[in-house]
Amino acid sequence: MAIADLMDQVVTTRLDELVSWCRKNSLWPMPFATACCGIELMAVGASRHDIARFGSEVFRFSPRQCDLMIVAGRVVMKMLPVLQRIWQQMPEPKWCISMGACASTGGVFDTYCVVQGIDRFIPVDMYVPGCPPRPEQLIQAVVDLQEKIQREGTMFGKEFYIASRQQTKRALQEP
């Protein structure tokens, strides 16, 4: 068999890109739904909006089977240790979407018990604004996250260590 015969049957690429391509097209979400954003999250999974079109329809309620945490809703002081534990139980590589105003900033709940943004305590890749966001917005976040994984994903997770340094910088700016 000559080399010329192989030309239309072979693709060459970098290993990192191949792995990222595999990962981005089968994100398994862990729904951490604590409030009304959770209802929109269900709508995203249901037939009308159908997140299966983007390969992440397999919602698993065990963190050990998931690689995308979607935090939908406000997180209070009593819930945050639970959130951190579930985040730690998820296997690498993993990503996090902070869905809605409350998960991202605390929203209107600027009170003694509501955590003012989960990104103070766990790493977040995508923020979805809205109260609650439309399902299309969450789908856009998933698509953007797929782009991000394709763009900077590496086989052994080098990008996570860079992100860790950035988060340290952000944490130092907190009051």
Partner: protein, 165 residues
């Protein structure tokens, strides 16, 4: 039995209580040390078999208020179809009042909530622990001298970073 008779019975037992009416609801203020006896009388003799709620008001900086905390007991009679509001005032330091958990089982969690939010001690309560806030929380967040944004408790958690988690 009209509600006036109940109020008169309360007055016979506990002296001349301040009683007011608002939109058909009757309210009576009972001396704090007599609150258990008053509620027992209402439950046993006047058919107020249902405790709707126990809650509290902080009157700090309230114009004309003489006492710091006002406890509110909302009672109802499921047979007589009557409602009655009983109030009692407690003050710092160490606001305490006798628990009514032995009269109504449902008072258990209601009193725990008032303790959690306002720090009012219920003497004789079977299990006076926090019910809403975490165990390690030390303040009483619904008191008026507690800041709206808290005292930094909500930021007091370890930060998980990418590399470590």
């Amino acid at each position: 039995m009209p509600i006036e008779e109940t109020v008169n019975a309360l007055r016979v037992a506990f002296g001349d209580l301040p009683v007011s009416k608002f939109r058909g609801d009757t309210r009576a203020v009972v001396p704090t040390e007599k609150i258990y006896e008053a509620l027992e009388l209402l439950k046993e003799k006047h058919g107020f078999d249902l405790l709707i709620d126990i809650t509290c008001v902080d009157y700090l900086n309230y114009p004309g208020a003489k006492d710091r905390f006002g406890l509110v007991y909302l009672l109802a009679g499921t047979v007589t179809n009557q409602r009655l509001t009983i109030r009692a005032f407690v003050n710092e330091p160490e606001p305490r009042v006798r628990s009514v958990a032995s009269l109504w089982e449902g008072a258990n969690w209601l009193e725990r909530e008032v303790w959690d939010m306002f720090g009012i001690q219920f003497e004789g309560h079977p299990d006076l622990r926090r019910i809403l806030m975490p165990e390690e929380f030390t303040a009483f967040p619904l008191r008026k001298d507690y800041p709206m944004q808290g005292l930094g408790e909500r930021h007091n958690f370890p930060v998980l970073k990418r590399g470590e988690s």
